[in-house]
Symmetry: C2
Subunit: 198 residues, 2 copies
C-alpha cells in the first residue's frame, strides 16, 4: 500500500498509528500541507478532495478521508467494535471529530504552530470557543468511561486522540480536562502505540 502522508498531520497520524498497531507495512509519500501547489496533479485522480491522507491499495484502488480509511483497515480486527450499534456509535464519534473537533482544534494548531500565519483575532476566537466546546463534550463522555465506545480501545479513540493529544500546540489548555488527560494516557499505553513524530 502507498500512503500519501504528512508527518505533521493528525489525520495522517491516525492512519499511521492504526497501521503500526495492525503490523501492516505501507510506503509513505510526504505531501506538503503548507504549500498546496501541485495538489491536482498529485492527487486529482485518486481523491476528489485533494487532501491527505489518501491510501492507495495494492490493487490500485484509492481511499480518502482519514476516518473512512480507519474504518476500512479495522474491518475484521479488534479495533472495530463487533456490534452494529456500537459500530454506529464509533461512527458518531468519528463524524463528531471531523465536524466539531478537527476544524477547531486541528486548524488552530495549524495556524499557530505549523503555517505560523493566523487569521484575524475574531476568527481565531470563534474557533477557540468551538474547540473548547468539543473538548467539553469529550470530557463529559470520558468522565464515566475508559474509552469512547464498546468499553475498549477502538478506531473512535484513534480518531479523537490524533488532534486532542497535540491540542496545546493550538493553544488549548488541557489541564482543565482531567478525564481527557487520563484517557490520553490510556491510549498512549496501548500495545503498538507510536507517537505522531514516528
Amino acid at each position: 500500500m502507498l500512503l500519501y502522508d504528512s508527518q505533521v498531520s493528525g489525520n495522517c497520524y491516525k492512519v499511521r498509528l492504526l497501521l503500526a498497531q495492525l503490523g501492516l507495512d505501507c510506503e509513505r509519500r510526504e505531501i506538503d500541507v503548507v504549500d498546496r501547489s501541485g495538489r491536482s496533479e498529485l492527487l486529482g485522480e485518486i481523491n476528489p478532495a485533494l487532501r491527505v491522507p489518501t491510501l492507495v491499495l495494492d490493487d490500485g484502488r484509492a481511499l480518502a478521508e482519514s476516518n473512512a480509511i480507519l474504518w476500512f483497515l479495522s474491518l475484521g480486527t479488534r479495533y472495530l467494535p463487533d456490534e452494529s450499534f456500537e459500530r454506529a456509535k464509533a461512527l458518531q464519534w468519528m463524524f463528531f471529530e471531523q465536524y466539531s473537533h478537527e476544524p477547531n482544534i486541528a486548524v488552530l494548531r495549524y495556524w499557530l504552530s505549523i503555517a505560523a500565519a493566523a487569521p484575524p483575532e475574531p476568527v481565531v476566537e470563534a474557533r477557540r470557543r468551538a474547540g473548547y466546546e468539543a473538548l467539553d463534550a469529550m470530557e463529559r463522555e470520558l468522565a464515566t468511561r475508559e474509552f469512547l465506545v464498546a468499553g475498549r480501545y477502538t478506531i473512535a479513540d484513534i480518531a479523537l486522540y490524533a488532534y486532542t493529544h497535540v491540542a496545546e500546540e493550538g493553544g488549548f489548555d488541557l489541564s482543565r480536562y482531567p478525564a481527557i488527560g487520563r484517557w490520553l494516557d490510556r491510549v498512549a499505553a496501548q500495545p503498538g502505540h507510536k507517537p505522531i513524530t514516528a
Copy 2:
C-alpha cells in the same frame, strides 16, 4: 423511535428521507436551530454535541450525527453498499460531506436564508470559495457515474443530496454544474423520495 428534528435542517432531512424510503415510522420532535437556548436540558443526556438530528431507539439508546444514523438505519438494506470497499467509499463521501461540504454550503444557507444574519463579507467569501471547491469535487466525480458509490443510489447520495439540492438558498449557482444537476434529478426520482419540506 423518536427523532429530535428540525424541518429546515438538511442533516435532519437525510434521516427523514431514509426513514421514508425504508417505510419506517418515527415520532418527530421539532428543535429550534436559531434559538439554541435550552439545548443542554433537551439533548445533554443523549448527544454530547447537543445537535439535531438525534435518534432515540425504542429501547432508549440514542444515536447522533446524521451520517452515523444513516449508516445504522441502512444496515441490511439496499441503501448501504454490499461490499467492504464500496462501504468505505460511501463513508469517504459522507466524511467529505461533513468536512468540506456542509460547513460551507449548509452554513451559507443558514446565514443567508434561515438565521438571516451573516458574518462579515470576508468570512462569507471564504465559505463561498470552499463551498464551490466541494461542488467542483462532486462535479468531477459525477461526470463519469450516475451515483456516488456502488453504481446505485445509496446513503452516500442521501448525505450529499440534502444540502446540495438547496445550495441556491445559500447563494450557490448550480447552473455551472451539469453533472450535479442530472444527479439531483436522479436522486429525486428514486422510489419513496420526499422533499425537505415534507
